[in-house]
Amino acid sequence: MIVKVGIPRGLLYYDYIPLWKTFFERLGAEVIVSDATCKQTLDHGLRVTVDDACLPIKVYFGHVMNLCGRVDYIFAPRIVSVERRSYICPKFMGLPDMLRNILTDDEAPKIIDTCIDLSKGRGLVDGVLETGRHFTRDPIKIWWSYLKARSELIRYRKAVLAGQLPEQALTKKVMNHEPAELSVAVLGHSYNVYDSYTTMNLIKKLRQNNVAVLTAEMVPEPYIERELASLDKKELFWTLGKRILGAANYFHKAQRVDGIIHVASFGCGPDSLVGEIVTRQVRRAQDIPIMELNIDEHSGEAGILTRIEAFVDMVKWRKGL
């Protein structure tokens, strides 16, 4: 019988899905990704999380619930760090523990909770082998699968760098857009920016307003590094925050965009500080407008729409359109 591995469509899904999917498939497992976020996902998530948790955590738990009963394993690694001297977020560090706390049923899928901590520059090999060992004892096969998976990831990231949204890059569908009159950077954690349910179709709405959308994942890593290095600030220690801060500065300085929207979950720890730095910097320069869009489970679609439209009007007005 083929082992079924469930991957929740939340948190770092948009950053790593080609890697994870290919890896497990190469190891002979069937991969089931949870359904796209919808009202039910959120309702399920709300039921099993504390109300203090941020929206992405609630949504993630909803995705896990969506997979229960359909899979043998759920891949929910403890992603402490994916690069030197940086972390993702304390909540990611406690994720498998919080999951185990709710998946107490004997029938519940097992959690693959490999700890990935590259903050000291090592640990990748161990992490890969440990994950693979659930499926085979052959380390060479595991590593080989990983290498294949990684090349899928690289291909995917290249497509995103070239300006495709993850959804397109994953389905390998190339879409052509009408030439837009404005461009706006939508910056935030990938699980917010690319989840059209929680952001209430932010990207689509912008495009309908004739706005081209750029995201942080479309900025090459070295540019981000360069921007961060040029800041007169202590080194930031959140990977996702670094990307937002670096991309904001890049777009801003290179005059690539006419406005910036920072999307954050309400109550997000890292973003409350990173967002503050970004906003203050852009406002001080007084050249392009910036909007903070905080989302949570209570955000109403109408309110967001009005804010987006007002923002687009403002961008147009500043540009003299």
Binding site: D52, P90, K91, G94, N101, G267, L273, G275, I277
Partner: protein, 368 residues
């Protein structure tokens, strides 16, 4: 150079002790109050955690009082505290203040920068003077902790309500104003003496409750709405998960001295069945200590943290399981600038009622 620093409970006593000994002038911000919170919340990002906001209030009041340098601790993540300094700098700059900020970072990997910062603080002082200042600060910390622990024990047993707090604040004042180690010893002695002379009711049925949670919230009585005192008056003896000297031991004294961090390892081990990894801040400690309090037969645990505090949200998600596994009532209480005192105290009282009821029930069960 006139140095100021943020408040956290009675930490100012140790810091001023340190700076005085170095011969550096300091400006202590007024104790946190509504004023500090109001200043802090108007200027800070709304979703920042409470300590950042109160810090801003502290700084601004001190800068208005003539301070020109801010002394602040740093950090290397994963929690927000390590990046407070940068955000606070921006906020204060935009508000039009001129100042310098000295951020003391943990020495990992960069001992030289730490050294240069200490040099800056030292001014013209010599290394011997630095050693003396460090010793003074440490002794003051120990003295403060001793007084606080005594107060925790005696308050629920006092005969005259409020008498413990009077002695406590007198003793702390003496410790604060002690200029030499001899004076400090004398101050501690006076405190102990006053406490032992206090009239107490030995046989009072006292409940034991552990306080766990985010360090700032549990150490700063203004933001926790005087939880310790309120509980004491309700006949509850408390033990805090963190005393300041423990914190300094764990954070400033490097891991190179492993015998000192064994306490931390023990807590992590207790937490393991529920939380198997460090989660930043004090989250792991909150879990481990809750388990410990249950093993030690405490009647309950109160978990305090500021709204949106990440490590403690992880902890809060796990505490209900500990509570049912180990049969100990645990309540999580969230604090922010909008928390109303009356409502908060009602919740504490309700929790204490529950504990009393459980204890009484437990007794009848045992007797029958």
């Amino acid at each position: 150079m006139k140095i100021t620093f943020p408040h956290m409970g009675n930490l100012y006593i140790a810091i001023t002790g340190f700076l005085e000994e170095l011969g550096v002038e300091s400006v202590i911000p007024p104790k946190p109050s509504k004023a500090a919170i109001n200043i802090g919340t108007t200027l800070s990002p709304e979703s920042a955690c409470l300590p950042l906001k109160v810090n801003i209030g502290d700084y601004i009041q001190a800068l208005e009082n003539g301070a020109d340098t801010i002394l602040m601790a740093g950090g290397v993540g994963p929690c927000r505290f390590g990046y407070y300094c940068e955000v606070q700098k921006e906020i204060l700059k935009d508000a039009g203040y001129n100042f310098e900020m000295i951020v003391i970072e943990p020495p990992c990997g960069r001992p030289l920068t730490l050294l240069s910062k200490i040099r800056k603080l030292m001014g013209g002082a010599s290394w011997t003077e630095l050693y003396r200042a460090g010793r003074m600060a440490w002794q003051k910390l120990l003295a403060v902790d001793e007084i606080e622990k005594m107060a925790h024990f005696i308050r629920p047993r006092e005969v005259e309500r409020g008498s413990t707090s009077v002695i406590e604040s007198k003793a702390l004042k003496l410790i604060h104003s002690a200029k030499t180690l001899t004076e400090l010893k004398e101050a501690s002695y006076q405190g102990r003496k006053a406490f032992s002379a206090l009239q107490v009711q030995e046989d009072r049925d006292v409940l034991k409750v552990g306080i766990v949670g985010e360090i700032y919230t549990i150490l700063e009585p203004f933001v926790n709405l005087n939880t310790e005192q309120v509980l004491g008056h309700l006949g509850v003896q408390i033990e805090r998960m963190i005393y300041m000297s423990d914190w300094v031991r764990a954070n400033i004294i490097p891991d190179a001295l492993p015998f000192l961090s064994s306490e931390h390892k023990r807590t992590a081990k207790l937490a393991k069945p529920y939380l198997n990894h460090f989660v930043g801040g004090d989250g792991l400690e909150s879990i481990g200590k809750s388990v410990e309090y249950s093993y030690r037969g405490f009647d309950g645990v109160i978990h305090l943290f500021p709204l949106t505090c990440m490590p403690e949200i992880v902890a809060k998600s796990l505490l209900p399981t500990i509570s049912s596994d180990l049969d100990i009532p645990i309540t999580s209480l969230v604090l922010d600038e909008h928390t109303g005192e009356a409502g908060f105290i009602t919740r504490l009282e309700a929790f204490v009622d529950l504990l009393r009821w459980r204890k009484a029930k437990g007794k009848t069960v045992a007797n029958s």
